[in-house]
């Protein structure tokens, strides 16, 4: 039995290498050059505004409006960054934002994946109705929800608390749909097998389903985190206490009706981008396709 299997393994390996060779189709030189030109234009369009923000953050206000604009500041002015940390509670805003975005992301992944599991795999009366209702609620614009949400949060006495920033985003059903679509793809036989093996519904969810949808959850998590990190309208309305202010609202407060300090604003935006970039770099390895290979017959 073992000898037979080894032979079979070698054959599979040979097939795989053939497949790789087949996928590397040769392309003509002009086609490659053209693709590089298009990519370069795309990168330039994406980078120029960012570079302009970097440049602006390193200039004094007086030299901001020189014409033609100086892309490379001379001399480099660090005062905007110093002012950001010395004159404003920027660190506190960052901590608040990371805490709120992190809490929302963690809770949302937990609840959405459980709700997605129920909608994808469990049989119960009204399952389709619930799914349809959730789908409809995705279509309601946030602007239509803000006033009712404000009254609910005020009624609950949560205004000016972290809960006001954390709880309302959890009600967004988009994540449930994303989680459901990841879970629907998991073969029913895996759960049936786990059920026969003695796993409870919660164990199936935790030990079988969650590991298999991990890449999808990473995407959902990043999406949620970024949405919360940059969230502006709701935190502006729900929290007025400066101790609980988040970055987007705090940075917007750096400008006043009479004074637009673009250098300070640019420095704020740049520093605010650092934590989310770090988070993105940390989790990017998890952005891989859901690997179900080996689970079933091929």
């Amino acid at each position: 039995m073992t000898a037979m299997s080894t032979t079979e393994h070698k054959t599979r390996g040979a097939d795989a290498s053939k497949g790789r060779a087949r996928s590397g189709l040769p392309r003509s030189r002009p086609a490659i050059s053209l693709s590089y030109v298009i990519l370069f234009i795309g990168v330039a369009i994406a980078l120029v505004p960012f570079l302009y923000v970097v440049s602006t953050s390193l200039k004094e206000s007086t030299s901001l409006f020189s014409y033609p604009p100086d892309w490379i500041p001379s001399p480099i002015f660090w005062g905007n960054f110093e002012s950001l940390f010395a004159d404003h509670p920027f660190v506190l805003w960052t901590i608040n934002t990371l805490f709120v975005a992190g809490a929302v992301t963690a809770l949302k992944l937990w609840f959405d994946s459980m709700a997605g599991y129920a909608l994808a795999k469990m049989e119960f009366a009204g399952r389709r109705g619930v799914a349809l209702l959730l789908l409809l609620s995705v279509a309601i614009p946030i602007s239509a929800l803000i006033i009712p949400m404000f009254f609910v949060v005020r009624y609950l006495g949560l205004l000016n608390t972290y809960w006001a920033l954390i709880l309302p985003p959890l009600a967004n059903p988009l994540g449930i749909f994303m989680a459901r679509s990841f879970i629907v793809g998991i073969p029913d036989d895996l759960e049936a097998s786990a059920r026969l093996d003695g796993a409870s519904e919660f164990t199936i969810y935790r030990k079988i389903v969650l590991p298999l949808i991990r890449p999808g959850l990473v995407v959902l998590g990043m999406f949620t985190f970024m949405l919360q990190y940059t969230s502006f309208i709701w935190p502006l309305i729900a929290v007025s206490d400066s101790d609980r202010q988040v970055l987007a609202v705090g940075i917007s407060g750096l400008q006043s009706a009479f004074l637009q300090d673009w250098g300070l604003l640019s420095a704020g935006m740049l520093v605010a981008a650092v934590p989310i970039t770090v988070v993105f770099l940390l989790v990017q390895k998890a952005f891989v396709f859901n690997d179900l290979s080996g689970a079933l017959k091929e």
Binding site: M1, P187, L190, R195, G294, L296, K297
Partner: protein, 374 residues
């Protein structure tokens, strides 16, 4: 519910079990007992309900009617994990994120009463892996295994629980022919070693005939026949079984019984072997099993006709022989036979070659053939 009780030596007992989805009846009421250590194969075409039976026993499908007993205990309302059954799925259903070791150990780690110690789990996992020759692959993930090895992981995961009953749902259906033959042998070796009641679903009659102690033939949600492989072959209960078992497929011919209780078939007379002669004027169906009809030069031949087609199978050949009057039979010949299409051959019928069925397809008797005198 039924007043029938399962016998003590029966591992699985299904009493008047039926399954329907709304108004659609997918399984008509049937009884089935699987003895301790018995290997029973559920055989039938796709959609006949064989996997549904399996899932009902496992507890993955509700029973619409009847009782299911496992190891003497009524399990209709028992959760799948408490039924003392293990199942090997048609798709292996391995957990792709776990190693082979963790896959095999999973049922043991889920065990609650009693909760098993880590060293016990390790020892039993190794033992199960050894039974199916998987010990060298314990730290691999399923994606790093071949089809046959994955199948054995699924088997080991079923074995490790040491259940009262094994359920196997077409476990070999996607393996190539060579590997399938090897795995058949392996499965039988494992079965002989652990000696547990096994219910095995397949649509492959060779698997059924070679592996089963008893075969349950199903069609369209109804049990057609339960019996030993030889019984199904030599005395098929109806035309469905007669055609489903045996290769090539048995051709059928509708005939009318003559006044003397015999049948006229081409230039031969067929006489039923039942104690009661066939009723004159009755409409019957006659089937002639190709593997029991021989091309011969002997004078004892009962038919003669012209060969219209020859299929070479390696070990032997099969000839389509036109007997005239719209009748034809398929006949076995030597592999190196010189007979070619267009030649005339004589055909001899071995005992058990000819079967007579009534007008609804149920078997009446076997028959013998002799050449009519002209």
């Amino acid at each position: 519910m039924s007043a029938v009780s399962p016998r003590a030596d029966v591992a699985v007992s299904l009493i008047q079990v039926a399954k329907s989805y709304g108004d659609v009846e997918v399984l008509q009421p049937f009884d089935l007992q699987v003895g301790e250590g018995e290997f029973v194969v559920l055989l039938g075409p796709s959609g006949c309900g064989k996997s549904t039976i399996m899932k009902m026993i496992a507890g993955l499908e509700e029973v619409s009617h009847g009782e299911i007993h496992v190891a003497g205990e009524l399990v209709n309302y028992v959760r799948p994990r408490d039924r003392d059954v293990s199942m090997v799925f048609q798709n292996y259903a391995l957990y792709p994120h776990m190693t082979v070791r963790d896959n095999i150990a999973f049922p043991l780690t889920m065990s609650r009463r009693p909760r098993l110690k880590r060293d016990v789990i390790g020892a039993r996992t190794l033992e199960a892996a050894d039974i199916v020759d998987l010990a060298p692959y314990l730290d691999r993930k399923p994606a790093q295994l071949s089809g046959g090895q994955r199948q054995r992981v699924a088997l080991a995961r079923a074995i490790v629980r040491q259940p009262a009953v094994f359920l196997m749902d077409e476990p070999l259906s996607n393996l190539d022919a060579l590997l399938r033959a090897d795995m058949r042998t392996s499965l039988l070796e494992v079965h002989a070693r652990i000696k547990k009641a096994t219910l095995y679903v397949t649509h492959d009659q060779i698997e059924a005939m070679t592996m089963a102690d008893r075969v349950v033939v199903l069609n369209a949600g109804r049990i057609q026949q339960i019996g030993r492989p030889r019984d199904l072959y030599t005395a098929p209960a109806n035309t469905f079984v007669a055609q489903f078992i045996g290769s090539p497929r048995m051709p059928l011919h509708d005939l009318e019984v003559r006044d003397d209780g015999t049948l006229s078939f081409a230039d031969a007379t067929l006489t039923g072997d039942a104690d009661v002669p066939l009723a004159p004027g009755a409409s019957v169906t006659v089937g002639l099993r190709p593997s029991a009809l021989r091309a011969t030069s002997s004078a004892s031949a009962c038919f003669a006709g012209k060969v219209t087609r020859r299929d070479y199978l390696g070990s032997d050949s099969y000839l389509d022989v036109d007997l005239g009057a719209g009748l034809s039979v398929m006949v076995r010949a030597e592999a190196d036979s010189a007979v070619r299409p267009g030649d005339t051959v004589r055909v001899a019928a071995d005992p058990g070659a000819i079967h007579v069925f009534d007008d609804v397809g149920a078997r009446v008797c076997g028959a013998s053939a002799r050449r009519q005198k002209r």
